[in-house]
């Protein structure tokens, strides 16, 4: 009996508590930087595309919403000829971001991507590609990877020594 009265009293006291509701369109909620929202393709600090079109994101995607085609420029640098994400299928799981070896594909704290037509939910590469490096400001895949591309030979990467000819006896 007493517990019932105490329950009523507790509920009544909640009249004066601050409200939890965030009145969404007028009041924007705080989303942490790691929030899994709209997917973007980032660029490295030099301004070149990070994506090397390795298909790992497309393979990791559980709903098969990523489609891309690899190609190479004249210096041997790989990049996607097209990169397409169908956001009407995407479940924002972030597996593509985890799979990406070059930190190119990233999820952002933005969820306001409703459209009236389903076809508008398909984002092409120019919709996905942003100007900056996204969450990782310093990382540049070709500066730390061993692969030779135009302007950088083998052994020229950071923390890397020039290759040794193991068949030669000369020091």
């Amino acid at each position: 009996m007493l517990s019932i009265l105490r329950a009523i009293g507790t509920v009544l006291r909640h009249t004066f508590r601050p409200r939890e509701t965030i009145q969404y369109p007028e009041q924007q909620p705080y989303l942490p930087p790691r929030y899994r929202g709209r997917i973007i393709l980032s660029r490295d600090p030099d301004g070149a595309e990070r994506c090397v079109a390795c298909y790992l994101c497309a393979a990791a995607c559980p709903v098969d919403c990523i489609a891309l085609q690899a190609t190479q420029d004249e210096t041997g640098r790989r990049y996607p000829a097209f990169f397409r994400i169908n956001f009407s299928r995407c479940i924002m799981c972030g597996f593509c971001e985890e799979a990406c070896p070059t930190l190119a594909i990233q999820l952002t704290p933005d969820f306001e991507m409703s459209e009236y037509r389903r076809a508008d939910m398909v984002y092409e590469k120019e919709d996905l590609l942003i100007a900056g490096p996204g969450k990782y400001h310093e990382y540049n895949f070709y500066r730390v990877a061993g692969r030779a591309i135009g302007g950088k030979d083998k052994g020229a990467a950071r923390n890397e020594s020039p290759p040794v000819d193991v068949r030669s006896l000369l020091p």
């Binding site: 509920v11 009544l12 909640h14």
Partner: protein, 318 residues
């Protein structure tokens, strides 16, 4: 001519209008108040303070498909929600809103109210039975058992008031509270009447006939569209009715200083409706056997004791 025809018609229209508009407005009030007690805001988008939410809800429920399941007992299925609403609406006939403003000034007004509240159980029982669905039937069985056992001492609880005022006429009961509201000498009766009222209007914590968490929606599982809406109109009108009766029997009806009687009546009723919603916000639903145990082993003896003590005191002092 004006006294005999127009005036009663006006009062009937006013009573019907009050009953139906409060029933609709309560949808909004309940959602807002529940939100207040759960640290939320509630519906506040449609119109000022979200008041037009009522209109939006009405439009929605009118345009929903009115589906009658092929396995249902069709005529009974259709008539059940109307039975509930009509039985509640009939009770409004004896409610004195202010001195002289009453549809039917019966000298057995209180008995008429109790009888009509008892009839309400037919709406639930027939609705659950005709749905031909096990959850609906379970809900209907519970509704019948609950309402039958709680109306026993609902009647007994108000007998104290009848003894004190010496009348079954609701207007005279209110007038008898000129000196002191019956909530003070009849406090036990008030508590028992309120608990029975919660059970009669099958509201939380006594919403076992519906019991969303165990019986889907209880007796109205198979109902949709405006028939479903009618069950809810009946429920909300039941809340208003029980609040009005509590005000009349225990809180001095229309009496109060300064403001006109109708305003006092409305204010008191409003406070009691808020109490109804507060109970819903704070209390949990008891188990079925606890409900029956509470009714027959605790409240019924208490109500009988209350009647006996009140009778003895009145007899001793007269």
């Amino acid at each position: 001519m004006i006294e005999t025809i127009v005036r009663p018609l006006l009062i009937i229209a006013a009573a019907m209008g009050t009953a139906l508009t409060t029933a609709a407005g309560l949808i909004w009030l309940e959602r807002r108040l529940l939100a207040v007690w759960q640290d939320r805001l509630g519906p506040n988008r449609v119109g000022p303070f979200g008041l037009l939410q009522v209109v939006a809800d009405m439009i929605k429920i009118f345009f929903k498909e009115d589906w009658i399941p092929p396995f249902a007992d069709r005529p009974v299925f259709v008539i059940a929600p109307a039975l509930l609403v009509v039985s509640v609406l009939m009770s409004y006939a004896v409610v004195p809103f202010a001195p002289g403003i009453v549809v039917a000034d019966l000298n057995v007004g209180l008995l008429f109210f109790l009888a009509m509240v008892s009839l309400g159980v037919y709406g639930l029982a027939l609705g659950g039975w005709s749905s031909n669905n096990k959850y609906a039937l379970l809900g209907a069985i519970r509704a019948t058992a609950q309402m039958l056992s709680y109306e026993v001492f609902m009647g007994l609880a108000v007998m104290g008031v009848v003894i004190l005022s010496g009348s079954f006429n609701l207007q005279q009961i209110v007038r008898a509270q000129e000196g002191m509201w019956f909530c003070i000498p009849q406090f036990a009766g008030l508590v028992i009447f309120l608990i029975a009222g919660f059970a009669e209007s099958h509201r939380l914590p006594f919403d076992l006939p519906e019991a969303e968490s165990e019986l889907i929606a209880g007796f109205h599982t198979e109902y949709s569209g405006i028939k479903f809406g009618l069950f809810f109109v009946g429920e909300y009108m039941g809340i208003t009715l029980i609040s009005m009766m509590t005000v009349i029997l225990f809180f001095g009806g229309w009496m109060g200083p300064l403001l006109p009687p109708v305003v006092w009546f409305a204010l008191k009723t409003f406070v009691l409706i808020c109490v109804f919603i507060l109970m819903r916000a704070s209390l949990a639903r008891p188990r079925y056997d606890q409900l029956m145990h509470f009714a027959w082993k605790v409240l019924l003896p208490l109500a009988l004791l209350n009647v006996m003590v009140t009778g003895a005191i009145v007899l001793a002092f007269d």
